[in-house]
Every structure is written in C-alpha cells, then in structure tokens.
C-alpha cells in the first residue's frame, strides 16, 4: 500500500496515562509517569517522530532559566518572572518550578547532557535577564533528543509515532476519558482510552504568516500548529491570557533566533542603524519587543545584533554554537548571503504572532500540579500557562504532570465516553476526504494566516479586529464546507488548518476582551493605550461554554514572593535614555 493513500479504519486501545506530544515536556512526563508506577501502561503519542520532534528537534544551546544555588534563588527568579509579566502571574507554579528545576538539571546531566562548568567545576551561569543570572550553556546540546529517547526505551514507554490527536473524549460527568487520533500516513483512526491525559503539544507557532511568505518558515517548529490549544478548548478546558501573544526578535527572513542569549554573554548586543544600543536588556519580554518594534519604525532601523566588535576567536566560539544546535541552518543561511559575523552585523526583524507560554504567557490554564480545569487532563511545556518556562520549564513541569497524572490514574478507573462522540469526530475528521472538489488545505491556511497578519498582529485596533473576525468567519465557512484532502498527508494539513483557525478565533476573542494595554507589544491596544490595574490586574480565562467562546476574569493568586512597589515597573524601563 502506497504511503498517504487513505485507508478506512477505526481501532481502539487503552492505557493508564496517555501523553500527547513527544517533544520536550512529553517525553519527561511519560518517563516520570512510568517511573511512578512501572506496572502501568504509558503511551506517548506523537504527530511526527519522537526521535526528532518538537522545538528541540536539533537540540538546544542552553538553559535560559536555570535557577542554580549560588547564582540565583527561587525567590529571585519568581520575582523576575512576575515583573517581566506585568504582575499577572500565579506565583505558586513559577516558584515550584524554580525550586525543582535544579534537580531536573542534575537528572538531565545523568542522562548524558552536559552543562558548561568553569575551572572550579561550578556551573558557568551567564547573565541575560534584567535582574538575575539564569543562562547555562549546554556544550553537547545537540544530543538532547537522543538522550531522552534512550530513557524512553529503557523505561519501555509505548511510543506511537505519526498519530495526530484530534479531539479529547470525556465522560458525561466531565472527566477525561481518552482521545481520538488519526494516522498521518493512512488516515486510519485510533481511539485511545485513558484514565489521565497529558497534553504536551507545543506552541501555536503556525498562527501568523512569516514575512518571507513561506508558510513553514516559522519561528516555532512548523509542526506546532496549535493542536493542543484547540483540543483543550473543545474539551471545555480554560485557556489563560491568550492575548499575551508570542512575538520574538529574530534573524530577518531566516526567522530563527540570532541568538542574543548565546552571543550576549560574550558581549554582543542589539543596536540600531546608528550602531547605538536602544534597549537595556536582551531578555525577551513584551516591553523589550515594543522598543524593538518602535525602533524598526522610527527611521533608526533596521535593527541588528552586533558582534563584529568581538575578537575573531570569540566569534568563532559563538558560531560553533549557533551553527550546530537548535537551528543549525543559520550558518548556511548567512553563508548564502555572504554575511560574516566578523565584518557584518546580523539584520534582525520581529516574528509573526503565536501562542507560547515558553516565551510569553499564553497557554492552557494549569495550576502548580499541571492540572487543567478538566479533571484528569494535564498540560505542560509551551502550551501550558506557566509563563516564560522555556525548555527547562517543559522538562520540569512535564515531570510534575507525569507524577500527578499517574497518581490520578492509580486512584481512578476508566471514565466512560459516549460512542456517538467518536462517530461524530470520525465524521468531522474524514469530511474533507469525502469531497470530489474544493479548496486545498494550503490555500485555506495561507488565507487564514494572512488575515491573522493583516488584522490581529499588534498594534491591536478594535475596528481592525472586528473586520478580521468577519473575514476569519468567512474563511472558516470555506474550511468547513469546501476544503478537500486528497490523501492522508493533505488530511494532516487539513486538520492542522482547523487548529490554526481555532487559535486565530481565540487570539481575536481574548484580545478584544482585555480592555487595556499590557505586556508591551504583546497586547498593545491602541483604543486602550494605558495599563489599567484597577480593572485588569487579573488573568483572563477563555473557554467554550454551551458551544460558545467566552472569556472571564480570574483573580491573580496572592503572591508567595512579595514585590516592592519600586520593583514593579523594572521591565517597563527597557529603553536606554540619554543621560547628562
């Protein structure tokens, strides 16, 4: 049978804990769940292949948020992330991460992942953030996925590659019961009954359209189409602060990080066309992105990452990282343009919008045990609401989710779902394959994402949003009534478009709900240009209520680590001011 030919089929399996997504958080969640109860069945479901899936497909250059005794304290880290997020943080989860992450670093070290040490044998932590010191380079960062995979095999985790989860199943009393998935190469459907489900499905990174016009030239791994956000939404889970978009400073056109976290500690910095610094700190925050955006439009752009003043040996050292891990084709890209970091600065631009709590704060709402608002459903990594959690946060919170989910599975039996829900989902999934004629998924996707750029990208203008929502509704109608999929691969893309469309709607809805500006560029509303702490010092939770998208306020939990009044606006002062 040729690959991609559509096969009609439906089978059912069951397991104790189902982990969906085998990138960063997922493997750790599966591993911890299995170690918690070695007799239990743990299934790791992955749309691509666990060996090379997710944001760290080609490894990572380092840890961006390592809280290492002697360099930083959990209190200090919690304070910094709270301030960087304009105060809208449930600190308990951030504090728990900060307390646990060192243990995870030691565990990763035992897996064979090395971290940079100085001549005394201490971790060589670097400063990139505004206040504290948390960046720890990984000299063999390209081996991360391999090291994780070895652990999964050793623990006998059941891995199912090339299955895309499409919807979650619940019992009539609202508890999680499993998930429906589809094979991305045959379109055969698989129902997985589970006592607990952990979503680790990454960012919504295919939401905006990159300025290059190449649909898959996204900042995030382009496989991360926001399926987790869409699935959580349709299961009735709450999603937090989706209006706090992810927007990043990237190498123009290449659309990957330059990367200031790697080069900054060696002395590289962001500069304008005059060669002057204009931001205090290269740590990615909405406030920093607003200054970046302003500089680009001010006539003082383009913006560059400045390296050429450094010693050639230092530049070679930076290159050896940038051109080996995370996005190794950076070297090829610069070579193609004849750019040598020794003589030329790196032209930077800002990325398309997306959802990603890894760098901002937009995610499926979770508490400090990685529990969503649906009993038995967990989330971790870039798609869960713990802010700025990066790779180490995915590992650490994935670990929390795995342990708690196995405890849940150990104390609950399978919940019963309605067979009619499966039949309905099968019908929804397969509909584009039943049409003889229509619009291919790539066109629906391009149009949707172009509309996201035209109407939803900040600055957010109410009138533009209203028009954008109308245009998106028209595109949705095309998607539902006319989209075709002629083989299993096209069906995969057709299903991804549906996630992208849901995320676009959620981005618009959440942005209109919060009537203030906050998080710098991430939620800059021209009709409400000021921060309004009196009315909006709160989370916003978006969810599906009686089939309709709704938003509500949720109070910020009392702080564990108090923030003094004169510290609250430290991240608001990103622009370098001329001083006498």
């Amino acid at each position: 049978m040729a690959l991609d030919q559509i096969v009609d089929g439906l089978s059912e399996v069951s397991c104790d804990v189902l982990v969906i997504g085998g990138g960063t958080a997922g493997p750790m969640a599966a591993l911890k769940a299995k170690l918690k109860n070695p007799k239990a069945n743990v299934v790791l479901l992955e749309k691509a292949n666990v060996k090379r899936s997710g944001a760290i497909s080609m490894g990572m250059d380092g840890l961006n948020n390592a809280v290492i005794p002697g360099y930083a304290t959990p209190e200090q880290y919690t304070k910094e992330i709270t301030i960087a997020n304009d105060g809208i943080v449930d600190q308990k989860a951030v504090y728990k991460y900060a307390q646990n992450c060192y243990k995870i670093i030691e565990e990763l070290d035992s897996f064979g992942i090395r971290f940079l040490k100085n001549e005394n044998g201490d971790y060589a932590v670097k400063k990139v953030h505004h206040i504290g010191t948390y960046v720890l380079p990984m000299p063999n960062g390209e081996t991360v996925k391999k090291a994780l995979y070895r652990q999964l095999r050793r623990a006998r985790i059941l891995i199912s590659n090339r299955y895309m989860a499409t919807r979650l199943l619940k019992s009539s009393d609202g508890r999680i019961a499993g998930a429906v998935s589809v094979n991305t190469r045959t379109a055969e459907m698989l129902v997985i009954k589970a006592k607990a489900v952990i979503l680790c499905m990454g960012a919504a990174g295919r939401l905006g359209l990159p300025t290059s016009g190449y649909m898959f030239g996204t900042y995030e791994n382009a496989a991360n189409s926001g399926d987790g956000y869409a699935m959580a939404y349709h299961a009735g889970a709450a999603l937090a602060n989706l209006e706090c978009f992810q927007i990043n400073p990237l190498i123009k056109d290449y659309n990957g990080p330059a990367c200031a976290y790697v080069a900054g500690p060696f002395g590289a910095y962001t500069a304008n066309n005059e060669g002057s610094r204009f931001i205090e700190c290269d740590y990615w925050s909405g406030q920093m992105m607003l200054e970046f955006y302003n500089e680009l439009l001010s006539g003082k752009g383009p913006v560059f990452l400045q390296l050429k003043h450094l010693h050639p040996d230092t530049i070679s050292e930076i290159e050896s990282t940038l051109h080996k891990v995370e996005r190794p084709t950076r070297g090829l890209f610069q070579q193609g343009r004849g750019v040598d970091y020794r003589s030329e600065s790196i032209e930077m631009h800002i990325s398309e919008i997306g959802f990603c709590s890894g760098h901002s704060a937009s995610g499926v709402f979770v508490d400090d045990n990685a529990r969503t608002t649906v009993p038995g459903l967990y989330a971790a990594g870039d798609m869960a609401s713990v802010p700025h959690n990066y790779m180490l946060g995915a590992f650490t919170n994935g670990s929390v989710a795995g342990i708690d989910a196995m405890e849940f599975a150990d104390s609950h039996d399978f919940a019963e779902f309605d067979a009619a829900d499966v039949a309905m989902e099968r019908d929804r999934v397969m509909t584009p394959t039943k049409r003889e004629d229509g619009i291919p998924p790539n066109q629906v996707e391009y149009k949707t994402r172009r509309l996201v750029n035209d109407y939803l990208q900040p600055p957010k203008v109410t009138r533009k949003y209203e028009l954008g929502m109308r245009r998106l509704a028209e595109a949705r109608e095309d998607m539902q009534e006319r989209m075709i999929a002629r083989n299993a691969h096209e069906l995969l893309r057709a299903l991804e478009v549906q996630s992208i469309m849901d995320c676009a709607d959620m981005a618009a809805h959440a942005s209109l709900y919060r009537e203030e500006s906050r998080w710098g560029l991430y939620h800059w509303r021209t009709d409400f240009p000021e921060k309004d702490n009196e009315n909006w010092f709160c989370h916003t939770l978006l969810s599906k209520q009686d089939g309709k998208m709704t938003s509500a306020k949720r109070a910020v939990e009392p702080y564990v680590v108090p923030i003094a009044d004169d510290e609250k606006d430290l991240y608001d002062k990103q622009r370098i001011r001329a001083s006498a």
Binding site: A2, L3, D4, A48, N49, K51, R52, S53, G54, S57, M58, N161, R162, T184, R185, P210, S212, G213, Y214, M215, F216, G217, T218, N221, A222, A223, D253, Y254, N255, R327, P328, T329, L332, F333, G336, R337, D437, G438, I439, P440, H489, L492, R493
Partner: protein
C-alpha cells in the same frame, strides 16, 4: 473548482547515487518533523514530496550515507 499544480523548487535534495532507500533505508522519511519526504515508486530513492520544510536538518544529520542536503527554501534565502 478545478485544481492546478503549482511549481516550487524544493529545499531538500537527495543524491540518488548515495541514497540507500532501495536497500530498505527510511531514516530521513522517519525523522522529518513535517513528514515531507517519501521514497519514489519509480527510482526507489528518497525525495522531497511536499514543499513544507522547516529547514531543521534531521534528515541530513541522520542520513547514514550523507545523501541528503538541506538548502534554505528559496523564498527566505
């Protein structure tokens, strides 16, 4: 509505002389996060079937014979 095919130069190139897909190797097809590589029915060699590339490199890095080259997609080159 009738469909037309759309011309595009694909970023991933496979050297048929080095590719051992005809001996049963599927490594590049297996590891691709976007699932865009296939084995040709005609040549039994790997090729890029869908221009949906993140220029991420697992196909090139994991190929046992060095047959795969990832180029930067033309639109962003």
């Amino acid at each position: 509505m009738p469909l037309a095919s759309y011309q595009t130069s694909v970023p991933v190139v496979v050297d048929d002389a080095k590719c051992i897909a005809d001996k049963g190797c599927t490594v590049c097809v297996d590891v691709c996060p976007l699932d865009v590589l296939r084995i040709s029915d005609m040549t039994n060699k790997a090729y890029m079937a869908y221009d949906e590339c993140w220029y991420c490199m697992p196909c090139e890095a994991d190929c046992p014979t060095g047959a795969v080259t990832v180029n930067i997609p033309y639109l962003l080159r």
